[in-house]
Symmetry: C2
Subunit: 200 residues, 2 copies
Amino acid sequence: MEQVRRGKTFIISGPSGVGKGTVLKELFKTRDMYYSVSATTRAPRDGEVDGVHYHFMDAEEFRTMIAEDALLEHAEYAGNYYGTPKRYVDEAMDSGRDVILEIELQGARQVHAKRPETVRIFIGPPSWEELERRLVSRGTDTPEKIAQRLQRARIELESADEYDYLIINDTVEKAAAELDAILCAEHCRVDDRLDQILGK
Amino acid sequence: MEQVRRGKTFIISGPSGVGKGTVLKELFKTRDMYYSVSATTRAPRDGEVDGVHYHFMDAEEFRTMIAEDALLEHAEYAGNYYGTPKRYVDEAMDSGRDVILEIELQGARQVHAKRPETVRIFIGPPSWEELERRLVSRGTDTPEKIAQRLQRARIELESADEYDYLIINDTVEKAAAELDAILCAEHCRVDDRLDQILGK
């Protein structure tokens, strides 16, 4: 029986409005990957399904997961916990699927500290002006919210050098093709493949 | 005026008979790269063109290049010098072209010692039996020569872990696609791209 090749985990970060979701949607057209679902203690909103949008749980359960080191990363935001359960990530990788963690800088740092082999990819805008334009044109945020997002984006962009790869999202197709190439290349790393040579 | 992005250098190694030339030919169908031409002191054979097959020179010229550190790597083989002149590699990279150095293990080590940023790619056979089959089916070598090549291949394969990437050449199309992905991914490295973000 052929051994299943283990999947790898890829962190995707980038400022709000940069188009991470659109790029990933394009990638998922051709790649079967596990998009990690976060755990949270916040209440489900209308239409949100447990296990699909989030793994919903109460604060006690979440704290137990922290105590048992069952999370790859976690944070508290507006009085609620958010985090990435190890379990589903590991199950996916064991079954040979690659994993996408769409998380922000703080989470990326935590995951990388626990698992330095995780590949970190930052998606950036072609320019600052274009990021502003995209945030405004979504039409979902108040000017105050947009200003907040831009302030946060500035901090995130300044930390892009902590990542392994930087993709500039000028067109979705190009960005998705680059992401696809990075995934492919990372599976060609010598460390992952040495057992394939000389029948070792 | 837009600044030309500097090219990168990629080392390709792999045992005789593994199909490096065929994979590169497939790659060059879609990528304009500089395939580095070696310098040598051996006499040109019939049909060999100076500057195309080799940069032909005499031993004194070659030794001057060594003394002036004008070679990325060099070796002596069967009484002749062979080496990679820095000049053409640098000119290509300065003009924005990527460079392929098809060299063997010793040369790869020398280049990497001088330029640790060089990306090292090893092309391996799907199996030992398949490498034997390919060497025999070329029909160009005597059994003794084939035995020699296989012995050398064994040593090379055992050093594959010194490389960054390992491509298994089971089909030319797949191997060329992986090589293409590695080239693309390496251009997405954060260090190469940080100047593209925030208009830095």
